[in-house]
Each structure stands twice: as C-alpha cells, then as structure tokens.
C-alpha cells in the first residue's frame, strides 16, 4: 500500500464536522481587529528600534530602496555534467535516516536518523557525512531534531521540534543552543553567519541573524508596514546577503545594508504547456498541481517567492499575474530575471539548490539535470519509492537527497543518497 492510500485510510476516522454550535463572534473579530490595526504603529516603532539597534551593532543593515548597479556579466553557471552515479550513504546502526542539507562545495552533507516515538521516546541522531563517509553520529539534544543546513567547515544548524522549537548548531562534537529563545535557524554560510526566525509565537516571529554560534540573535530590520509574523527568512549567501519571504513576495537585505522587495517586472508570463509530464502513478498530475485555478486575479502583480541562493542567483517561484507558479531565478546585482526549465516545467525548490517537482532532477543553471534512480529504489510497482533532493554543489558535481519509501511498510526504510557527477 502506498503512503497516499495509507494516510487517507489511517486518518479517515478523524474526518467530521465540529460537534458543537459555533461560538465565533464576527463583530468581536472586527472590534479586536481595529485595536490591532491601531497597534501596528507600535509594531512599526519596534521594528524601527530594531533597525537602529541592528545598525549600531552590526552596522550594515537598513531598509530602503535604490536601483542596483548593473554589471555586464551575469553569475556564471557550472557546466552540465555528463553522467551521475547514485550511492547510498552509510547510516551507522540506525534503521533509517534522511539527508536534509549540504554545503555549497558538495563535500559536507547532514541529516538525521528517524526518532522512535514509543515510550520512553528515543531521540534521533544528527548524522554528518564528509565526502560520502559518515563522520558524525551524535545523539540529538532533544526529540524530533531536524537539520536545516551545513557549511563548508562542517558546522550544522537545526532545531528541536518539541512544541516551541529550540535552535541549535553543531560544531566539533558539541551542540550549541543558539540565543534568542524559541525559533529555527534556516541557513549558515561558510563565514559561520546563521540566519533564522525566532519568536515565542508565530505572530511574534522575527527574522534574525547570529554572527556566530555564541552571538545574540540580531533582529533584521523589517520594511515599513510589515509586522513580525509576516516574514520568514529563507537563506544567507556567502557575501552576507539575506533573502526572506514576506507574504507571497520576496525581500532582500544586501551586504551593503540596504533592503528591497524583489519585484518581477509586470508582463505576460506564459504558462507551462499542459501536456502531461510522465509521473509515478499516484502522483498528482501537472494540471492538478497548479496552486490556484487560472480564473481570477486579473490585475494582480506577479510575485516572487525566494527559496534559496545558488551561485549568485536567487532561485524561487514566480506567481504570475494569471496565477501560474513558474520556476525563476533572479540576479540581484544586475536586476536580471530568468525563467528556468522548458515550457512544461513547474517549480519545486528546497534546501541548497533547486529541483524539479516530482522528477528526480536538479537545476544546473537554467537547465535540468535528470538523475538516475539508485538500484535500491527500483520497485516492481512504479511510484512506491521516490527521491527527495535537498542539496546540489555549486559545481554540480554532487547532489544530495533521500530515498523515501512510498509504502506503508516499516520494513521499507528511508535512506540518504548522493549522486557523484562528472
């Protein structure tokens, strides 16, 4: 049985309607909403204070606009590899594990073993591979530990999902709890600067930067009119640029301290062709994967949701004026936008790289590199295993991911995989 069927069958008993009359009070919501609008002034004031504090401590970040300079040369793309070979990574004595992060050089990868939820719960372990060899197998400091990123020095960042997430970093054999309270680090660059989102509640969550493992959480200045809870940091580049999602749009703090929204030019963005892409059985079709029906939103500006830096570009989703999600990348130095893939490509991105939806394929520059499945993923029934890609090296010589079992059978384990390409 595939996970799709298993999940639907397992959770079906929970389906139903509320079993008591509604107590929702719309008039109260409007009254309270008016008060909250009134408080936005103060929220903005706090953000301004935060901005001043950040400027006085860090000295570089500030909101503001400005037209970026336009160099003549775009960031270069690596050559497309000719062939890639998959290999399962060692996972010590754990029954199963996932690879969830990789560094830009393609040398370091990090992931976690699966936790055990029986009583007493068994914490999962942080696993770090260097050049494909398991070099760290460390019991996590809390249950449900997840790894978000690892840099070229082998420093990993992650969080414990125990209700209020606690941010951690791992370096040289030790876990370090990051300052600032509940939150999650999302990325670390090779200089050791970490970015993430911190706050006691979702509505109070702010984007922050840690300049080192022991540094305080330094709030990033919010643009005018934006409140905490509306911003989620996505990544930090090697030059210190930081990109975030605000609403459905993108925002960039540049190394020089300026901040600006990432606004794709208005215009017509052709939709992907509707010719079906071959997908494993049980997967939704391309048409079904369109996030919104293409019926409304005339006059809505296109929006860009950034997800990751890669080789000088910001990769992300562009939501067109006709409500179609397209894979795009943006070069902030030259203010250049580029559509990715072919006319039939929908977008999916994650981690340190960009990957193509339901296909085992990674973007190298603007083109797709299709990766062969490992022999262990071969299955008599198509669609029972699938690959989750999470990182690609800047030189496109190493791709990291996991083989995820699509079967409702505990004997089918998740396994970390890397592809070596040449």
């Amino acid at each position: 049985m595939r996970d799709e069927e298993y999940g639907a069958l397992l959770l079906r008993p929970l389906d139903g309607e509320p079993d008591a009359p509604s107590k929702i009070d719309v008039a109260k919501a409007m009254r309270d909403g008016r008060h909250r609008r009134g408080r936005r002034w103060w929220a903005g004031g706090s953000a301004l204070v935060a901005a001043v504090a950040a400027a006085s401590v860090g000295g570089v970040l500030a909101t503001g606009g400005g037209t970026p300079p336009k160099p003549k040369v775009l960031p270069p793309d690596p050559p497309m590899p000719g062939a890639c070979v998959p290999a399962m990574l060692p996972i010590g004595g754990h029954p199963d594990a996932n690879l969830t992060a990789g560094d830009p050089s393609g040398t370091w990868h990090a992931g976690v073993s699966e936790p055990n939820y029986h009583e007493p719960p068994v914490f999962n372990s942080l696993l770090i591979w260097r050049g494909g060899q398991l070099v760290t197998d460390a019991k996590a400091p809390a249950s449900s530990f997840g790894v978000r990123d690892i840099n070229g020095a082998g420093v990993a960042v992650g969080f414990s999902d125990t209700g209020a997430n606690q941010p951690f970093a791992y370096r040289n054999g030790s876990f370090h709890k990051l300052a600032g309270g509940a939150g999650e680090p999302v990325a670390i660059n090779d200089a050791g600067v970490i970015v993430g989102n911190v706050g006691p509640t979702e509505n109070e969550t702010r984007p922050v930067r840690w300049r080192s493992l022991t540094a305080p959480a330094e709030p990033l200045p919010l643009p005018a009119g934006v409140r905490p809870g509306e911003v989620r940091v996505r990544d930090i580049a090697e030059d210190g640029s930081i990109v975030a999602e605000i609403g459905r749009g993108g925002y960039l703090w540049s190394p020089d301290g300026t901040g600006r929204f990432l606004k794709p030019p208005k215009g017509h963005y052709p939709a992907p062709s509707m010719s079906p892409i071959p997908l494993p059985s049980g997967m939704p079709s391309v048409e079904a994967r369109l996030p919104f029906p293409d019926t409304s939103s005339a006059g809505v500006d296109p929006q860009f949701t950034p997800l990751t830096f890669a080789r000088g570009w910001i990769y992300g989703h562009l939501l067109s004026e006709s409500s179609i999600t397209l894979p795009y990348r943006y070069d902030p130095r030259s203010d250049t936008w580029q559509r990715l893939g072919d006319a039939s490509t929908q977008a999916d991105l994650s981690g340190n790289g960009m990957f193509a939806g339901d296909r085992t394929a990674a973007y190298v520059g603007r083109a797709l590199l299709t990766l062969p499945l490992p022999p262990e993923a071969a299955s008599p029934k198509e669609g029972e295993n699938w690959m989750s890609l999470t990182s690609i090296g800047d030189d496109a010589r190493t791709v990291g991911g996991s083989m995820i079992s699509g079967r409702a059978d505990p004997s089918h384990r998740d396994r970390p995989v890397i592809w070596r390409c040449r």
Partner: protein, 166 residues
Amino acid sequence: MTDESDAGYLDYVHGRIPALRRVAFLLSGSSDEADDLVQETITKLYAQWSRISRVEHVDSYVHTMLVRAFLDEKRRGWWRVNLRGAPPEPPAAPPGTSEERTVLRAALRRVPARQQAVLVLRFLCDQSVADVAQILGCSEGTVKSQTSHGLNALRRILGDRVGGAL
C-alpha cells in the same frame, strides 16, 4: 476601514466560516479549539483586510493564517506544559467519540506540529501537495517529506494498523 470595505469583509467571512471551522476542527480535534482558531484568524484578517482583499489570493492567505494560528497554539501549549511542570491530562473524549478516534487523535498530537498540519491538510482536507506547500510556505518536496515522516511517526506510535484496526 470604510463601510464598503467592512461589507466586503463581512461577505467574505460569512461565506467562509463553515469551511474554516471545519479545517480548524480537523486540525485541532476540538470544536472549542476550532472556534478559537477561526476567531483569531478572522480577527487578524480584519486587521489586514484593506491590504489582503486587494492584492492576495484571499482563500490561500486565510488558510495560511489559520494554520499558523494552529501552530501558534501548539507553541503556547508547550509553554503551558512547562510552566505547570508536568504534562497536562489529555482532554476527555467528547460523548459519542469512538475509542478508535480518541486513540488516533492522541497519536496525532504526539507528532511534530507541522507534520500534524501536513497530514490533516493532505488526507482530511484533500489539499494537493502544491496547495499545502503554498499554505505552509515551503517547497513541495518538504510537504512530501513531512508527509512521509508524519506517517512514519504515526506508524511507530500506533503500530502498523489501518482501516479501523486500532
């Protein structure tokens, strides 16, 4: 906010409350908690209505707000647990609730909050992977991973039982 804008808000909210309440109920498993989540969501929506009504895909945005309110409640719950120094007693099952449903809901509550949200949105609310990715502000790959991890967690808690064999 103008009267015209208020009217637009009221039209929208009155038309969506039943659907929002159902999603909130499926997420939380409790009518009371569902009402709290929807109340918080429509309050926040009113505070931002002038902006959201013009430029956003409102339904998707409101679902994001609702799920964030749910995740927020999970965090608040964690603080309450820690202030009390011991885990709270699980809520009593409402009258007429089957044992199967009670066991399943208790198991779901032990899964990390985002995985709970992904499982409920995908398998009880019939949302596509792409829609859940939009609602949670993450990639489709993350949604699929969270789905797999969430189901694995439930499998480990409950054993390999499905279809009423709890």
